[in-house]
């Protein structure tokens, strides 16, 4: 494929229209698989339930730990593991790997739409649907049993909503980054597991970084993974004032830009590589 076509696809504002179409089509496709959505809801329910059980067990007889109460941890489990941690974005790595192995990537690159953009749209559509039909019902059911804390303030809530968008974007960018590496490594399966391992620990998905040993905590606080679950939930719970929370959000946007730049470079190298292989 020619380089100008790629540029058009990646930067022209009109390219958003096909991306929206991809997102809608993917969401519709997901909506038709009701049993899959039900299974997803069951999975999310069990996952949140397990986390709440863990926190209830470790907090038995304790008021708080590191200044965090049990009620806050239940909220962290409810909101964090549904809106922020339930998306197994590592599957994107598998998808890219499969497209490379089967050669389908060649046909995909011929389309007048950027490949990463298309992948993002295809993930975003079903993800928004899952927010509505999986996450919200699970939160509502379990919150009615265990209780949930409201956001610290309206300002924190608005910032949290922005954080959810940033978290989804970062997770996607990290997945694309790992996925594009499979043009060189050709072992998407392994890259997928590396990503899963890093995200499981460093995003604060299961355990917030407050509870980490100091050295590991300091390291994890600075990496982009922390903006996937930990910082958004810290914002929701009002662990920092609005000004600091806004600064932290800006730092997360900075990470997104850095990752975006890395992907742009990788993507350029990748498309050249595909041309060489094809020629």
């Amino acid at each position: 494929m020619s380089a100008p076509a790629l540029k058009f696809a990646a930067f022209h504002p009109l390219a958003l229209r096909p991306l929206a179409a991809f997102a809608t089509a993917a969401a519709r496709q997901q909506a038709t698989h009701r049993s899959e959505l039900l299974a997803m809801a069951f999975g999310a329910f069990m996952d949140v339930f397990a986390r709440i059980s863990i926190w209830k067990a470790v907090y038995a007889g304790r008021e708080d730990m590191a200044g965090i109460s049990l009620a806050e941890m239940i909220t962290y489990a409810l909101v964090g593991s549904t809106f922020l941690s339930s998306w197994d974005a590592a599957l994107i790595v598998r998808e890219i790997g499969a497209a490379i192995r089967s050669g389908q990537i060649g046909a995909t690159l011929m389309r007048p739409v950027s490949f990463p953009g298309m992948l993002f749209a295809e993930q975003l559509g079903p993800r928004l649907l899952q927010f509505a039909v999986v996450c919200l019902p699970v939160i509502a059911i379990l919150a009615s049993v265990y209780g949930i804390q409201p956001p610290a303030s309206p300002g924190h809530f608005l910032l949290f909503v922005a954080h959810v968008a940033l978290s989804t974007t970062l997770l996607f960018l990290i997945a694309i980054f790992f996925g594009l590496l499979s043009f060189w490594v050709l072992e998407a399966h392994s890259l997928e597991w590396f990503m899963r391992g890093l995200t499981a620990l460093l995003s604060g998905g299961l355990v917030p970084l407050w509870f980490f040993p100091p050295a590991l905590g300091a390291f994890a606080h600075a990496l982009p993974f922390a903006w996937i679950t930990y910082y958004p939930m810290a914002c929701y719970l009002g662990r920092a004032d609005l000004f600091t929370s806004t600064l932290l959000f800006a730092a997360g946007v900075g990470w997104a830009l850095v990752l975006g730049a890395c992907i742009a470079v990788l993507w350029r190298l990748t498309t050249r590589r595909v041309t060489v292989q094809g020629g």
Binding site: G43, A50, S53, A57, V58, L202, L206, V207
Partner: protein, 287 residues
């Protein structure tokens, strides 16, 4: 069939060719496993990378659990060494069962749908055994290393007297838990004959499987009852490990030591019956 034809060019010889009743031809199964292993070992670097990366993925979750225990000192009355032993046992026993059944039965619905399974029915071999042994999966290296490492870490810090009795119980418990894993995957695979699509059921399996990583006592009573009875995930590691390290088992009490060893064989028997019933139904439909 592939196994028989290829047998002539290998060290496997007479036994494979000799007519034997389907289902008990051990030499053939051994040969099928060797074929599969040799195929996978053609790409050694890829296999090792898969082990390392999968181990890394699991280590991320185990590290999170360690962080909780490190900070809070315990989880539902379980200290880190006890928890390490539990996690190690869970991972190791699962891997033994999964080597023979997971990837094999994960693709079962596609096999049935695309008619590949019907091809097996006309072969002079038990279809279940063929699927299991010809698909033996070597990707669990990191499970074994991580599982053994965690068990050794835990056992070293626990006051366990590793005499012949405990050793025997440990091995029998591992076997029972591995049988339990294989039986569950067989049952889910057999759903393909009834449901048409069974792959998503594996997702449900793993949702519950992840619960069984933790001490079952931390869950509410109704869920505990489910995990001890209709969905017997408690026997994957919680019951056998509790018995070995002398921790009380809720609901089961004095029956726990026997059930820890019997759960696997019992479920395997039930899985065999279920598989046969579903297979009969499949043949009925097929005419």
């Amino acid at each position: 069939m592939v196994g028989r034809e290829d047998a002539t060019s290998d060290s496997m010889t007479g036994e494979v060719r000799a007519p034997a009743p389907p289902g008990i031809n051990l030499a053939l199964y051994w040969h099928l496993m060797r074929l599969r292993a040799r195929t996978r070992l053609q790409y050694r670097a890829s296999l090792v990378l898969a082990w390392i990366s999968q181990g890394f993925g699991y280590a991320g979750t185990f590290a999170s659990i360690w962080v909780i225990l490190n900070r809070f000192g315990g989880l539902g009355g379980w200290s880190w060494p006890e928890m390490a032993f539990l996690l190690g046992f869970h991972t190791f026993a699962y891997a033994i069962g999964a080597v023979f059944t997971f990837t094999q039965f994960r693709g079962m619905d596609a096999m049935v749908r695309e008619g590949e399974f019907d091809m097996l029915l006309v072969r002079p071999v038990n279809p279940w055994s063929f699927i299991v042994f010809s698909g033996v999966d070597l990707q669990y290296g990191s499970h074994f290393v991580l599982g053994a490492g965690l068990m050794i870490t835990g056992a070293a810090a626990l006051p366990l007297a590793w005499d012949a009795g405990l050793m025997l119980r440990f091995l029998a418990s591992l076997l029972s838990a591995a049988l339990l894993t294989g039986a569950m995957f067989t049952i889910i695979g057999a759903f393909a004959f009834v449901l048409g699509r069974s792959r998503y059921v594996f997702g449900l399996y793993f949702d519950l499987w992840e619960l069984s990583r933790y001490p079952i006592g931390i869950y509410t009573a109704p869920l505990q009852i489910i995990l001890f009875t209709v969905l017997p995930f408690a026997y994957m590691s919680f019951v056998p490990v509790s018995v070995m390290i002398g921790k009380p088992v809720p609901l089961l009490g004095g029956a726990a030591p026997v059930l820890a060893l019997a759960a696997g064989p019992i479920l395997a028997l039930m899985a065999a019956l279920f598989w046969r019933a579903c297979l009969r139904r499949h043949q009925d439909i097929g005419g």
